[in-house]
Symmetry: C2
Subunit: 437 residues, 2 copies
Amino acid sequence: MTDAPGPEPADPLTPADEAIGGFILDGTVKGIPPRARLRLDAIGAQGWNVLAGDLPFPIAVLDAGRLRHNAAWMATFCRLNGLSLCPHGKTTMAPQLFALQRAHGAWGITVATAQQLAVARRFGVRRAIWANQPVGRLAVEAAFDAVADPGFELFVLADSLAVVEGLAAGAARAGLARPLGVLLEVGNQGGRTGARDAASALAVARAIAAAPGLALAGVECFEGLLPDTASVDAMLGTLADVAAEAAAEGLFAGGEVILSAGGTSFFDRVGARLPDAAALGRPVRRVLRSGCSITHDDIGYAQSYARMRSEGALRFPEGDPLPALTVWTMVQSVPEPRLAILTGGKRDIGSDMGQPVPLRHFRPGVHEAPQPFGAFHRIAGMNDQHAHLVGPAEGLLQVGDLVALGIGHPCSTFDRWQVIPLVDEALTVTGAIRTFF
Amino acid sequence: MTDAPGPEPADPLTPADEAIGGFILDGTVKGIPPRARLRLDAIGAQGWNVLAGDLPFPIAVLDAGRLRHNAAWMATFCRLNGLSLCPHGKTTMAPQLFALQRAHGAWGITVATAQQLAVARRFGVRRAIWANQPVGRLAVEAAFDAVADPGFELFVLADSLAVVEGLAAGAARAGLARPLGVLLEVGNQGGRTGARDAASALAVARAIAAAPGLALAGVECFEGLLPDTASVDAMLGTLADVAAEAAAEGLFAGGEVILSAGGTSFFDRVGARLPDAAALGRPVRRVLRSGCSITHDDIGYAQSYARMRSEGALRFPEGDPLPALTVWTMVQSVPEPRLAILTGGKRDIGSDMGQPVPLRHFRPGVHEAPQPFGAFHRIAGMNDQHAHLVGPAEGLLQVGDLVALGIGHPCSTFDRWQVIPLVDEALTVTGAIRTFF
């Protein structure tokens, strides 16, 4: 439980589990040199460097120092503002990054599916919010299997009487002494899941409170996809109203009431608007679930963070979050003036929140360090295995040059890689993470 | 070498390699029941059925009968029209599907990267077109490592003098007696890779022919992303002109000249327009690379195929290609009239060629078989883990119902799954494929 950056006693990025450390890397694994064959935990000893061309292109890399900085930054932000962090594991699905987040005081890890819950449990997570409605026999069974583990604490969501009925039936089948903690989900008209108004939300809350084997543990919403701060504030207002009414009716189970929200775009508003113990007359734990905070990005979250800083709704730590995930590509063709075709495309980089951004270019044997791009350079589009970089003046880029691409929405780049090298500032490989998508 | 559907002597879909058959499936693998633990090659013996809820949702499934039908259909199409098939492996990255394609007479497997080449070589492929420019030390090295294997035949692309120089330098380093086969790539203005006009293409051809260790083996283009048949015909016209001139200049190495193109949208035009031996005065092998033909789809390729049939530019086999890849989801919330939120989203289904299509719905315990959707049902959008289905009348869908989604561009759905069950028409699991993305 430390907020300070820097190496932990046992570095959480170093694989502690043989399923990760002993994972065999060879040329059939994307991002590994064709002739290599080694254990994942031996990769840091190879002396490989991105700029030296020791890895195939494209190659996604994580800056280990920036990961640590971001984990520490978010921990400090939460401490300064009376918040707990339960970062969404779906972003990275990387147990080593879960461990880094837990080493920096994360209260738990959020998951979205039974498979994600299984990965979290398999690799040492002891508390999870399953931020979804478990529906269907296998999902409900997975939830109660977790409840049956005395060392594990699970919270799931419910937004309808049908979901509560399914969970209650699962509780009856499981026959456990300990109840499953359920968070009531409130939503917004036109949005995703979540009860659409206070009346229907409270009907669900009452059903949870009345169901044997279930415990109403709190109220939750997801504001991350809303268009602006006004709609975020409105959704959090509904959450506060519903939580106050549920408290007044005595629907919550004993212990602290969990109030949770928080993607990575508006976590400042969430922190400012989630009700506190005084408002509820009950002990309260206010939980952010911001998953992308561990890597930040070069597109949307960078903009969100600029807004947060300028509005200053909460107390911010020193320094800024830093983009930690980059994909290095190589120029494979310059078929027209002002057009370069790069190795790497939709198979390697997500574009659901915008095309990646050309950050730096590097000519082996010529440049001493990567060079920034001028303005007017952009990725016009990607195919499965190619990116189209438009803008370079004649001679700026040639076949064999390296180009670093900054990404948006790390979720959709992480899930294209089973292994991602960790690098230092000089782009020397110091380790690697394994993902479980 | 058979074009007929149905079980082969040794079923290529049955894993022959311990790295696939012995792959351990448990709840940490997406698509596997949380409590399961078994070898991949034992999955068909479990009696699991999608409609019985034996698998977690979302679950991608491949209809094994349709895969066989499509493989046979494409083989017959090629035979009827004097074409060879070298399907792009990037689509599926599934050695079992490579084996199915090879069992149906595929001439080779196409790859896009050194990693894909490594997977193909590891699992028994003996001939590949690396339909890309190998650039950088590791990629060039991987190409010549394949040339050094006497049982393997490799062709790579070049579209510039810079690429030829890099390959020639690699040939000199490798010092092999056998040359690397190089296909000259022609492209189109505003397109991707490929020389933009005949003059620059021929300059590259002459450089390949003159380089020790390289052999000009043919001419290639990629028409799959062009907007219409007129631009496809124009690109193939350039290919024909360049090939004729290269033949006239005596630039091709001995043996047959390889002429290749063919995504899955316009392979009829490719088949009709690729020059033949008479046009070139040389033995010619005309090679399609259509990767998505193995699964077809429910969106773009379905439309392309309708166009092909109506134009009838070539001879078509009996029957139609059939969509073989489907993602089954479960309704987890019906938060508003005419809106259902489904398990499964961008993490599970590609949408780069359009949102998935609601095909059928099924209520366990009520419906005897999946029911077709009426018109006006569509997926309005997807988040990482959710799909928004709009249109259902009140009561049509409820929490716990199953919904089958048809997909477009199979590439971007395949790469979201490490394991995909094979099912029969009754949606009972008969096996599984492993992917290597």
